[in-house]
Amino acid sequence: MQTQVRKDGEAFVCAVIGDVDMYSAPTLHGTWRDHAANRAPAPFIVDMARTEYLDSSGVGVFVQILADSRAKEIPFFICNIRGMAEKLMRLSHMSCILPIEPTLDAALGKARQRAVAH
């Protein structure tokens, strides 16, 4: 798995390419930590369009990012979760608490709203 970060307006979009599992979850967490340390308070959006597989370690990293983003007041969204990853989110009921948007455009829109509100 690798992450590719690009700027889109005020937000930074982290495209995840490959499986987010027990071996690669630390890489995603590291990308978040780098963002929080160097680019806050710009919004952080994780784009899962190119991810087919997610496990509990990956879900756990999303929960950690959510808690950290709230503490640091950094807007955070996840988008394009589909297939198996979406099913896992539903099974674990994490879709109730994680800030999941259906598309990147929707996530960018939410990020802009949060920026205006601030």
Binding site: D21, M22, H29, D55, S56, G60, K87, L88, I97
Partner: protein, 182 residues
């Protein structure tokens, strides 16, 4: 089929029957967990998304045995009995560890989590999204068993020694890939 309410302890549960199940033994090599999982499920035929979900669910159980049961000690083994057909998935995994001593605490934790979910109180739910113990590390999601209880619709049952777990799932009709993918 609805999910289960809690983890059970029952050596006599039907999910612990090893009749007609295949058997494998693996060393506790953390880096091989997904490989072991693929070996086990290679003859299963759910459609793509469901196959990946089956892989993930099996992988979590293998990971628990390798990491939390055997402490990734390569000299320790995990024993696996498994059966995957078009109708069902069954798995029994036994490790050499001390067993899931906090099982009752986990059930209590999950009961509280369910209460917040049922009330739609997602703020309160935030305190119950990750089960942590003093042995948890940063990348133990602490959420695998929540999904397991929902996924394994025949139950998640531990042995009285708590170092073996048996799970089962009945697949809904229409879930299998007609062409197979063996």
């Amino acid at each position: 089929m609805a999910g289960n309410d809690e983890l059970l302890i029952d050596d006599t549960h039907e999910l612990f029957s090893r009749n007609d199940m295949d058997y494998a033994v693996f060393s506790s090599d953390y880096l091989q967990i997904r490989y072991y999982t693929l070996l086990l499920i290679q003859r299963s035929r759910p459609k793509t998304d469901e196959r990946l979900l089956l892989e993930q669910q099996v992988s979590e159980i293998i990971k628990n045995a390798v990491k939390h049961g055997n402490g990734c000690d390569a000299s320790k083994e995990i024993k696996v009995w498994y059966r995957f057909t078009d109708a069902e998935a069954r798995l029994i995994v036994e490790d050499e560890g001390p067993g899931f001593r906090d099982l009752e605490k986990w059930n209590l934790f999950n009961r509280k989590r369910r209460e917040f979910l049922d009330r739609g109180d997602y703020t309160g739910l935030m305190s119950y999204v990750s089960w942590r113990t003093d042995r948890s590390d940063a990348y133990d999601g602490g959420n695998a068993l929540f999904a397991a209880l929902e996924y394994w619709n025949r139950g998640v049952v531990y042995s009285s020694g708590r170092n073996a777990v048996a799970v089962g799932k009945v697949f809904p009709r229409g879930l299998m890939d007609a062409d197979g993918d063996e």
